[in-house]
Symmetry: C2
Subunit: 139 residues, 2 copies
DNA sequence: TTACTTAAAAAGAATTATTCTTATATAATA
DNA sequence: TATTATATAAGAATAATTCTTTTTAAGTAA
């Protein structure tokens, strides 16, 4: 994803293209590991030395609201962000903070099929995310 | 779950039984809706008017560590707690903060079978949780 | 039952993450 | 290029959680 694609992504939602927004979204794509707001701040501080931390949170909120990025929740209480919006799941390391994306079309189909048939009382199903816990060899 | 069972649950992990721990665990069982630390504080303030908020967090941490309760993560950044430790999933309301437990043995079997076969590179599978998003009729 | 030991709780300060407010700056547009 | 609306900076405020120290009480053994 290059700068022009990032700018286009922002513009496509009717949002103003600002250097801060571009830098933050670029950081999320490049860091590629579900960064926290603080991780993003560190990453962009060379290109955006004067950015306010409040701006980062504000921009993240706007990007989430416009479905350009997604929130990823963890048991450590800081929010993390994911630049991938297509349907996928996460591998969580139960020993460290590592989260990896997990794409599995077969799994998606099994579950979509399952929930299509399944009626859950008093609940309108929209979508699902599977949190897969374990340990990475590399950790 | 009565008081004696709660006391026994705490004792079975080799933990000291204290009125605060009993009250907090009782609150989680009775509230039965994935309360926050604050919800628990409100619930127990009649029986435990002098409890320190730090104590609540400390007790929750200990209960989690001893697998008596579990953390439940949400996009709203406050942690919630679940007194049910058997394998289950959660229905999340995408409009309000409601989380309901979802038990589905058929789903568990499908997924356990799936992950038993599936090899995920560089990752040791331990368990999974399905976060099911949608809306409740009652909301 | 009583005294002892150790773990737990209270208090409140400290920290961390996040949000809010207001003045200033800048992007899109006409 | 000027206009207007929106975004950003700054930093204070809030909210959630953790930490530190002192005090209290649970469990154990005499």
């Amino acid at each position: 994803m290059n700068i022009d694609q990032i700018r286009e992504k922002i513009a496509s939602k009717g949002l103003k293209i600002t250097p801060q927004r571009v830098a933050i979204l670029e950081a999320i794509y490049n860091l590629n590991n579900h960064p926290t707001a603080e991780n993003i701040a560190d990453y962009i501080k060379i290109s955006q030395p004067n950015i306010a931390i409040g701006t980062i949170y504000k921009v993240l909120e706007i990007l989430v609201k416009n479905k350009i990025i997604k929130k990823v929740t963890t048991e450590a209480d800081k929010m993390r962000y994911d630049g991938i919006t297509e349907h996928h799941h996460h591998l969580y390391c139960i020993e460290c903070d590592l989260i990896e994306d997990y794409f599995d079309e077969e799994l998606n189909q099994i579950l979509e099929q399952y929930f299509a048939k399944k009626k859950i009382n008093g609940f309108h199903f929209k979508n699902f995310v599977v949190q897969i816990n374990g340990t990475f060899d590399k950790c």
